[in-house]
Amino acid sequence: MSLYGVMLVVRQEFRVRLRTGRWRWLLGSWVAVLLLFTALLDLSLTGATGPRGVPLFGGLMLFVLALVLIISPALTAQSVNGDRERGTLATLQVTRLTATEIAVGKLLAGWGVGLVALALALPFVGWSIVEGGMTVLRTFVVLLVVALLIGVVCAISLGLSALLARSITSALLSYLAVFALTVGTAVTFGLSAGVIGGDRATAKVWWMLAPNPFVVLADATPKLPPAFDIQGHEIPQPGDPLGELGRSVRQLRDPDYYDEYADEPQHHPNPGPVWPYGLTFDLLVGAGAVWLTARQLRTPAARLPRGIRVA
């Protein structure tokens, strides 16, 4: 694999896409939606205690994550089989570009578009920082995790597009994969905990929630410095959706752990973070999907997926 080959594929994909879609309209409406959301959320937070930047940022990033999870499959779910349907894949494969270069190039092109969408959210991130309460580390980590999760979803969709003959099927399955990661993990976790029953059920199946992108994002979000109540006790920052979600997931992992901000000092150790498991799992799935894509693109092909004509 060479950088030259990868970048050639990336540039080609970008150019072809840029000239096909109505990008200005799409990106314009994306910014408009984010603007509307941030403005309304900001308005709804008037009168809230504490710095408004924290809930504004948290709400915005959860919203952005939800939206990019919907957008990302569309970026790569037809990359390989769409080319095959249009008859442009085989002519690419007989050049000196390698299968890995084509696979990685197509991933980076799709991921790149996703990152552009994320970059367009930056002004609104800036808005929440101006509102106060945010730390640089937290802003950076959250953006990084969202960026990685976009890549994971793009990679899974790319793999499906290489594996399946029809682009409609792979697009559908890509959305199903996102659904499984988000709703699926939550439902499986809830049902399993219910079946096991008892106080400590969630401690046995917490890992089922780990790959959930929202869980990964929230739990990976660095803690904010504590706030203080009227009596001077340390309390968590109020109105921090990311922090709260992260804390509740850790509590599911260790139900005995009550509250790190309890009045009496606790001797129970802090439950470990959940996100390293989830993020590692997601990244491995994504890497596996890219490997699979490259394998499917490797020629001369011994076996062909059903219903596929080489050219």
Binding site: Y4, L8, R15, G87, A90, Q93, P300, A311
Partner: protein
């Protein structure tokens, strides 16, 4: 120079794998390939010499496209030996790719790009550097008569023009072996003549050209050699002039005075067939026999206006081959 090399080239001996790549751009021996229950190739043999145009002829489903995909490094054969430009496409696909150009029968183009951008992308994908790339692109545009379209988007091109663009793309890296799957389909008569001239020029420059086609009358003008395939096997591999000489084909004769012609034919014991405006049908005979008959008719004083084979030799050979199948 090439001729000198050729003399020393070891020819292919069945069983004994002694091949030098100085003579043959493509060598395939006993190639088989199945797709699930369907056996597309059942032991196909083929040679494509440098400096010649070889035609691959056979009915639909004979395995022509499968064979070309194997030669183009896209498909792995189940069994058999394949060499393209002297290299094994299974073990050294990238080596083969830099020496081989391929144009598929069905293909797409990047509709959003301009003609020049399209070629420039592939030049880059073949790792041609700046100056060489520009030179080759201009050359391809000239040879495929697309120069005036260089800065127009690909999507405005007609089917025949896209076909020529694909041919230009296949030649960008100056391959020693050129594989063309049905290149003439969709081309208008002028483009076909141009294609013929282009392929002849490439062959003259030493390129090994393999063309599959259904348009037999044309192949006869383009090709030096013909390989007949049927049901995944090679049926016959021949020099096209030999084919014409050896093959019994139908003939037709036309004279200024049809009655005198009939009388002369009768006298010579030739059973004449139906007569039409085009002339009188004659029974099948070889070129030699036909030449003799013509000389005879003229010495008899028949004023012959036209005397020639009906259809092409390739066509009759093809029809004879597919007849055997039934």
């Amino acid at each position: 120079m090439r001729i000198a090399v050729r003399r020393y080239a070891v020819s292919i001996v069945r069983g004994g794998w002694a091949v030098t790549d100085t003579e043959y751009g493509v060598v395939a021996r006993g190639v088989t390939r199945g797709f699930g229950p369907v056996q597309a190739l059942r032991g196909l043999d083929l040679t494509v010499p440098y400096g010649q145009v070889t035609a691959l002829v056979g009915p639909n489903g004979a395995g022509k496209t499968t064979l070309l995909l194997i030669l183009a490094t896209l498909l792995r054969p189940d069994f058999g030996e394949v060499r393209v430009a002297g290299l094994d496409p299974v073990h050294d696909p990238s080596g083969v790719r830099s020496r081989m150009g391929w144009m598929p029968d069905v293909f797409g183009v990047y509709e959003q790009l301009t003609v020049r951008e399209y070629l420039a992308f592939f030049a880059a994908a073949y790792r041609l550097d700046g100056a060489v790339s520009n030179q080759r692109i201009s050359d391809a545009l000239l040879r495929t008569h697309l120069f005036e379209y260089a800065n127009r988007p690909v999507h405005i091109l007609s089917r025949g023009q896209k076909q020529r663009l694909a041919l230009g793309r296949a030649m960008l890296h100056e391959p020693a072996v050129l594989l063309l799957d049905e290149p003439a389909s969709g081309l208008d008569p002028r483009s076909r003549v141009e294609l013929r001239d282009l392929l002849r020029a490439l062959a003259a420059a030493g390129v090994a050209v393999l063309v599959s086609s259904h348009i037999l009358s044309e192949l006869e003008e383009i090709a030096d050699r013909v390989v007949f395939v049927n049901e995944g096997r090679t049926v016959d591999e021949q020099d096209i002039h030999q084919l014409a000489a050896n093959h019994m084909s139908q003939w037709r004769v036309r004279a200024a005075d049809p009655d005198a012609l009939r009388a002369a034919l009768e006298q010579r014991g030739v059973t004449a067939g139906a007569s039409s405006g085009a002339g009188t049908e004659l029974p099948a005979m070889t070129e030699d026999a036909a030449a003799e008959l013509l000389a005879g008719l003229i010495s008899d004083g028949v004023r012959v206006v036209a005397f020639g084979p009906v259809g092409s030799h390739l066509e009759t050979a093809y029809l004879a081959m597919t007849q055997e199948r039934r």
